[in-house]
């Protein structure tokens, strides 16, 4: 199995190449530089592995939620690559990728992933590890004020993502002692997008290039004249 993944949904920009259970990754915190960095990262990973695009089995991308522009860059780049190399695409939640990274790095099996969505809201998702150890979404992802995020099941959860920096007070007062700890300085990694995508591909979640589309969660972005 060979799969290329990217994520540009947050301040972090990353690309990863998954080849038979081994993952190589380029990762940088680089706000507003994603468009310049992403193709050279891909080129470098493929070059280092001595692979060309048409030797891959699939592509994957962090489909959001996150920065509108960021997720569109990822979607656009993956659309172009997928169309150009006739490859299937596995869209992966950026929140799920964040949770998967926390599971892998910190051995946390229950993660409350939150990105700062600005204007007083968070992008939110609760994830729990399943039997093979992959992160699975509990309930639905949403965008909402931190004081009304859905309360997860009883027990200890670990908070992750920029939402825990911006709204730590509101989140802890909402969730109380369910929060066993948090890390606001972690970001989704393309390596985790790749790992989740391998499972997604096996589960039949691949789409064609035209359907490699962002998921924004926030859809009321403009006011009509009649409003």
């Amino acid at each position: 199995m060979k799969l290329l993944a990217i994520d540009t949904s947050t301040e972090a920009c990353s690309a990863a190449l998954y080849v038979d259970n081994e993952v190589a990754e380029c990762f940088r915190i680089a706000p507003r530089e994603h468009a310049v960095l992403i193709l050279p990262m891909i080129e470098q990973l493929l070059g280092d592995a001595g692979l060309s695009l048409n030797r891959l089995d699939a592509l994957a991308f962090g489909r959001g939620p996150g920065s509108f522009t960021g997720v569109r860059i990822a979607a656009g780049v993956i659309q172009g690559l997928a169309y150009g190399a006739a490859l299937p695409v596995v869209p992966v939640s950026s929140l799920a990728a964040l949770a998967e990274g926390v599971r892998r790095e910190r051995q946390q099996s229950r993660v409350l992933a939150a990105f700062d969505a600005r204007i007083g809201e968070v992008y939110w998702g609760a994830y729990q590890a399943d039997e093979p150890g992959r992160m699975v979404l509990i309930g639905e992802e949403q965008v909402c004020p931190p004081k009304v995020v859905p309360e997860p099941a009883a027990g200890a959860w670990f908070g992750a993502g920029s939402g825990w920096r911006a709204y730590i007070d509101a989140l802890t007062s909402r969730l109380g002692n369910r929060v066993a700890g948090f890390d606001a300085e972690c970001y989704p990694h393309a390596a985790d997008v790749a790992r989740l995508a391998v499972a997604g591909l096996a589960a039949g979640q691949a789409v064609d290039a035209e359907r490699a589309l962002p998921v924004y969660l926030r859809d009321n972005v403009a006011r009509k004249m009649s409003d």
Partner: protein, 340 residues
């Protein structure tokens, strides 16, 4: 040399395939006018969201129409500016990554260079050098064009573009977005001469324009004379007269100043019937040859981007970068002739 062109700078998603030998093979466009109408103008975020949904299906359709397979394409040209950054980024991301996958060059094209060169796709293409009037919703410029990438700005609007003034005045007259063409239709029912609008900046030297005052003048006229149907038509008529007259006066000056005998007129406003009539009169009097793109290529389209890219790539231009870089603003005078 066969080039795929991609245009996403504002509210049209457009794609085309141009072949150096066979000419334009196919083109298609998806307009977002309906999407933005309820908002009274282009909403940049909604424009970007629509581009990322519509672009690839258009590429698929155009490649089929052009009976082309990926191996036939020698390069991809995309609009890199000026325009809405988020919208431009969609075209740039798809173009650069597709070019990477196909191992062909991706060329960043200036949107207004596309408009400027569009008449060169026609059978009676103008020879260089020529004078160019670019009139659209985003630009009003007079340029001396010595060749591809050799542009000298002679004058431009210091505030609103002509097309922008049309749209804003149309909104004032209660016409739905985008009101420019609707205003021109309304003006046909107007009584010429009932109102007289100023001809901004025609009393001083130079080739610059200013159109924002006309919108204010229109607002004041509506206030003083009511807004019954006839008054609105009369105001539309007077407004259009003023804009067209101003454009023609500056063209006449530019012809005199440069001595050029060919005038290219491009951009959305170049479709305006009154402007074409008056320019024809001017051209006859000054013994100047007039050139327009075909009507469907006056407004934004993919063909002009594919064409500009094809001309540059055929001349040996070799883009060195895979950076996805777009620019909201971009001075045409920074462009250079195609270079290897």
């Amino acid at each position: 040399m066969r080039v795929l062109g991609i245009e996403t700078s504002c509210d049209e998603t457009a794609v085309a395939v141009y072949d150096e030998a066979a000419g334009l093979l196919a083109h298609a466009l998806h307009s977002q006018v309906e999407l933005h109408r309820d908002y009274g103008g282009v909403v940049p975020e909604l424009a970007s969201r629509d581009h990322v949904r519509k672009l690839l299906p258009l590429v698929t359709a155009v490649m089929q129409q052009a009976r082309s397979v990926p191996e036939d394409i020698d390069g991809i040209a995309y609009t890199a500016g000026p325009g809405l950054v988020g919208a431009l980024l969609v075209g740039a991301s798809v173009a650069q990554s597709m070019a990477f996958a196909w191992r062909v060059p991706a060329l960043a094209i200036h949107h207004m260079e596309g408009h400027l060169l569009a008449p060169l796709m026609e059978a009676d293409a103008p020879a260089f050098p020529f004078l160019a009037l670019l009139v659209s919703g985003g630009h009003t410029q007079l340029l001396r064009v010595a060749g591809i990438g050799a542009y000298r700005l002679l004058g431009e609007s210091l505030d609103d573009a002509a097309g922008e003034a049309f749209d804003k005045t149309a909104k004032l007259l209660g016409l739905a977005y985008p009101g420019g063409p609707a205003l021109a239709r309304l003006a046909a029912n107007g009584v010429p001469g009932r109102f007289v609008f100023p001809r901004p900046m025609t009393h001083r030297q130079g080739l610059d324009f200013s159109f924002s005052g006309l919108k204010t003048f229109a607002a004041n006229t509506v206030q003083q004379h009511g807004d019954d149907a006839q008054a609105r038509a009369d105001i539309a008529c007077a407004f259009q007269e003023a804009v067209v007259d101003t454009l023609v006066i500056k063209c006449r000056r530019a012809i005199a100043q440069t001595g050029l005998k060919r005038l290219v007129v491009a951009g959305g406003v170049s479709a305006n019937t009154l402007l074409r009539e008056r320019l024809a009169t001017l051209a006859g009097r000054e013994a100047v040859a007039l050139y327009y793109p075909r009507l469907e290529f006056c407004t934004d389209n993919g063909a002009m981007i594919a064409y500009a890219g094809c001309r540059r790539l055929a001349a040996g231009e070799a883009p060195a970068t895979r950076d996805i870089v777009v620019r909201a603003r971009w001075d045409m005078q920074q462009l250079r002739p195609p270079a290897a």
